[in-house]
């Protein structure tokens, strides 16, 4: 296998890891605004992802860094071209990260309410915009001969991309519900499943539409195949959630997200950013790549360290496997 192909796969894997992992913590973040009924329940939700969300976010940083190292042209075109969406994502991730850490540091209601807003906004905005961004990458955007993006912000808000955004937003929401059902005890656990099923059924419509649209758009058998697998996993997830098989349901929503991502990356390959103006101007795994020498070094680093990272990150998930409920939240008196 060409090293450029290997790095395309590795970046796809990093994105899959990011979408599956941060996907549920974006979902939990949104649930802070709708599922929890009081401050204690909001704290239960936040604490299910408390020790995990930051590690999940690093997948994005590594995906970004790996793109920079392995495909500098892709990194440069993508980040400068998708300027405003990325700016909004950055603002959202900043306030969200700070909110988790700062929210519990004071006990006034206004303080908590403001940070809750930050958590909901900071989770929903990237959940939506990553879908928009990924759909645009795969579908193609106006890229000129000099590899620069020449469209505007509004070119990125085309129907296909917006549909992609709706899919990530809603599917992450459902993924979050399933995760909460898996990680909590008590009333909130039941309500999470119920809400997940309700939204999950509704979200199936845009999800299937997006898979079909992508299949027609890319016209590759493998895209249809992974799209189909994604739909199957998604339907299975809803069925398993209904039966109360929480761990399997979570595995199934994770698989559904992973399959959608694989579908997109399979559709993309061997391009990394196709041009909607002229296919001769597509950025590909070849013309956007770093030198062979750089890829060799980076491959060794990735091969040695990725398993180590996976090992300790899994261990941390194991350490925090315990379900939590309102009884585990230390009692405090909230001031006005």
């Amino acid at each position: 296998m060409e090293l450029t192909t290997f790095w395309f796969i590795l970046i796809a894997v990093l994105w899959i890891g990011y979408l599956v992992l941060e996907g549920f913590d974006f979902g939990v973040g949104m649930l802070v605004g709708v599922l929890a009924q009081d401050d204690k329940e909001r704290r239960v939700l936040i604490n299910t992802i408390g020790p995990l969300w930051d590690g999940n976010e690093v997948w994005l940083l590594v995906a970004g860094g790996a793109t920079f190292a392995a495909f500098p042209e892709w990194y440069a075109t993508l980040f400068s071209g998708f300027y405003l969406p990325l700016f909004l994502i950055l603002i959202a991730l900043i306030v969200r990260g700070v909110a988790f850490e700062f929210r519990g540091k004071r006990t006034t209601r206004a303080w908590r309410r403001n940070w809750d807003t930050a958590i909901v906004f900071g989770s929903a905005v990237p959940a939506l915009l990553w879908g928009v961004a990924l759909a645009n990458i795969v579908h193609g955007v106006p890229i000129a001969e000099n590899k620069e993006y020449v469209g505007s912000f509004f070119d990125l808000l085309n129907p296909y991309a917006l549909l992609g955004g709706v899919v990530t937003l809603t599917v992450f929401f459902v993924h979050g519900c399933v995760f909460v059902a898996l990680k909590t005890v008590g009333d909130i656990r039941t309500r999470a499943t119920k809400l997940g099923l309700k939204v999950g059924v509704a979200a199936a419509v845009p999800a299937v539409a997006f898979v079909v649209w992508t299949g027609l758009d890319q016209d590759k058998l493998t895209v249809w195949l992974f799209g189909l697998l994604a739909v199957i996993a998604y339907v299975a997830a809803l069925g398993l959630a209904l039966k109360g098989r929480e761990l399997l349901a979570f595995a199934a929503t994770s698989a559904a997200i992973a399959f959608v991502a694989v579908m997109l990356f399979v559709g993309l390959f061997p391009d990394v950013m196709p041009s909607s103006l002229d296919s001769a101007w597509n950025l590909t795994t070849t013309n956007a790549a770093s030198t062979h020498y750089t890829l060799v070094i980076m491959s060794w680093v990735a091969v040695v360290f990725t398993p180590i990272v996976l090992m300790y990150q899994s261990w941390s998930y194991w350490v925090f496997r315990k379900r939590i409920g309102v009884q585990h939240i230390p009692t405090e008196v909230l001031a006005k």
Partner: protein, 467 residues
């Protein structure tokens, strides 16, 4: 202002801001780990309470460091896409390695440390903070490798067909002589910040609350002050090495730092110049003869090149253009960095003297000094980086690419201005909240220890730590 200038301001603002949190994180993670180790070894309650007290301040600081760090990685592509295309083959690698080796380590193990008090054995829990601390060092090394390439590009070849720099020797990038002197200088400077942070806060407690946990804060003060002084000495020594490497690889930066227009042999070190720095109107000048020769070359007699002759050389080498950085900025940031560091060390000595053999200072001046102490080395770090980065101008990669050629050609002034205003506004708001929170937790003093409850997977006992 055009997009280039706004992008420069944005990089300056977001990076200087991000770098308020970095030195506190790097240094304080080790001091907190040290305090927890002391508790683990001695089981003295004061060490645990100090661990939790400074641990909380550390985490309030860390939250903003993480949040503002994402911008750092993204903005190379967003605002500096031509730079990214030009050096991505070299510059991307340390960034990716930093993420894979350091960021995962820091985030995962800090998560384990914050939430793991009742989930891990004391020994394992102690290990998590040490691993996170080591992660911060790894992170520094790789990001400084990337920056050192910009100061002194090594291990590459220019590919004219592709119009980019390509990596030929990654070992050379990781052993860049600028990196080898910058890394110790930077890490020691981070320890100065952490020492001043812990020492200043502890001294404030001793003066303001003499009846509250004074013994614990005396310990913390000593830890902080000794860290400040020892790492301060190290910072001076490593800075001296760094100056010599800088004179060798970036003579223009050293000449600018001194406002040295004419090549001098030997060259004096300017302590203070009043008047214009272009040498046309000098009102007052204080110099130490021959010192610059020593700082730059290690010999009191050597020649140090001046701005004018370097300008002529560079014009021959790189074509017409302006090759000197902003002289007043270089001159003053260099001096402010040194002064702030020196004043911090002097304050540390004074405070240690005032607390000798059980003495408890009460003076108002000492209180003010305690409040100012953390800011001195912190701002010294900021000025040091402003000097390093602005002193490299007009280059984004020294000798290879001009800053004006690195900016994203496609992004509009409106876009860059939007993000500049957005980041600055949100950073401003968060800074106010952060400082208020820190003050609140500093004022509260040492936390009480919770009574131990046995915990297992089925227990209904409250979590040892919850958001």
């Amino acid at each position: 202002m055009d997009a280039l200038e706004i992008a420069q301001w944005q990089f300056g603002i977001t990076t200087v801001y991000h770098f308020f949190f970095v030195p506190i994180t790097i240094g304080t993670s080790f001091l907190v780990a040290g305090l927890q180790t002391a508790w683990f070894r001695t089981h003295k309650e004061k060490y645990l309470r100090l661990t939790k007290f400074f641990g909380k301040l550390f985490l309030i600081n860390f939250a903003l460091g993480v949040a503002t760090g994402i911008v750092q990685e993204f903005q190379f592509g967003m605002n500096w896409s031509d730079y990214s295309r030009f050096v991505g083959d070299i510059f991307g690698a340390p960034l990716a390695i930093e993420g894979l080796l350091a960021f995962f380590l820091e985030s995962t193990f800090l998560g384990l440390w914050i939430f793991g008090w009742d989930r891990l054995t004391p020994k394992l829990h102690l290990m998590t903070i040490w691993i996170a601390a080591i992660g911060t060092l790894l992170s520094s090394y790789f990001i400084l490798a990337a920056n050192s390439f910009m100061q002194n590009p090594v291990g590459f070849e220019f590919n004219a067909d592709k119009g980019r720099a390509e990596l030929t020797d990654f070992g050379a990038v990781l052993t860049n002589k600028v990196l080898l002197v910058t890394f110790p200088h930077q890490i020691l400077a981070c320890f100065m910040v952490a020492g001043a942070f812990v020492g200043g806060i502890a001294m404030w407690q001793i003066i303001r609350h003499p009846d509250r946990d004074i013994e614990a804060f005396r310990t913390a003060f000593k830890l902080g002050a000794v860290t400040l002084l020892v790492s301060g000495l190290g910072t001076i020594v490593s800075g001296d090495f760094q100056g010599k490497v800088m004179t060798e690889v970036q003579p223009m930066k050293m000449a600018a730092a001194e406002g040295l227009y004419e090549t001098s042999e030997p060259a004096p070190f300017s302590i203070l110049t009043i008047g214009t720095l272009d040498g046309s109107k000098e009102v007052y000048k204080l110099e130490i003869p021959r010192l610059l020769s020593y700082l730059g070359t290690g010999s009191f007699d050597e020649k140090v090149e001046g701005i004018n002759s370097l300008q002529t050389q560079y014009e021959q080498l790189y074509g017409p253009g302006e090759y000197a950085p902003n002289i007043p900025v270089s001159y003053w940031t260099f001096r402010i960095m040194i002064t702030l560091g020196a004043v911090a060390m002097a304050a540390g000595v004074w405070m240690l003297w005032a607390t000798r053999r059980g003495r408890a200072p009460t003076s108002r001046w000492m209180l003010r000094a305690a409040i100012a102490l953390p800011f001195l080395p912190l701002f010294a770090n900021s000025f040091g980086w402003i000097f390093t980065e602005m002193g490299r101008q007009p280059w984004i990669v020294f000798g290879l690419m001009r800053t004006s050629d690195g900016v994203s050609p496609g992004t509009t002034t409106t876009e860059v201005l939007t993000s500049l205003i957005g980041f600055t506004a949100i950073y401003g708001v968060l800074a106010v909240i952060e400082v208020k929170l820190l003050l609140m937790y500093i004022q509260r003093g040492l936390p009480d220890l919770p009574t131990d409850v046995p915990d297992d997977d089925d227990s209904d006992a409250p979590l040892a730590f919850a958001y």
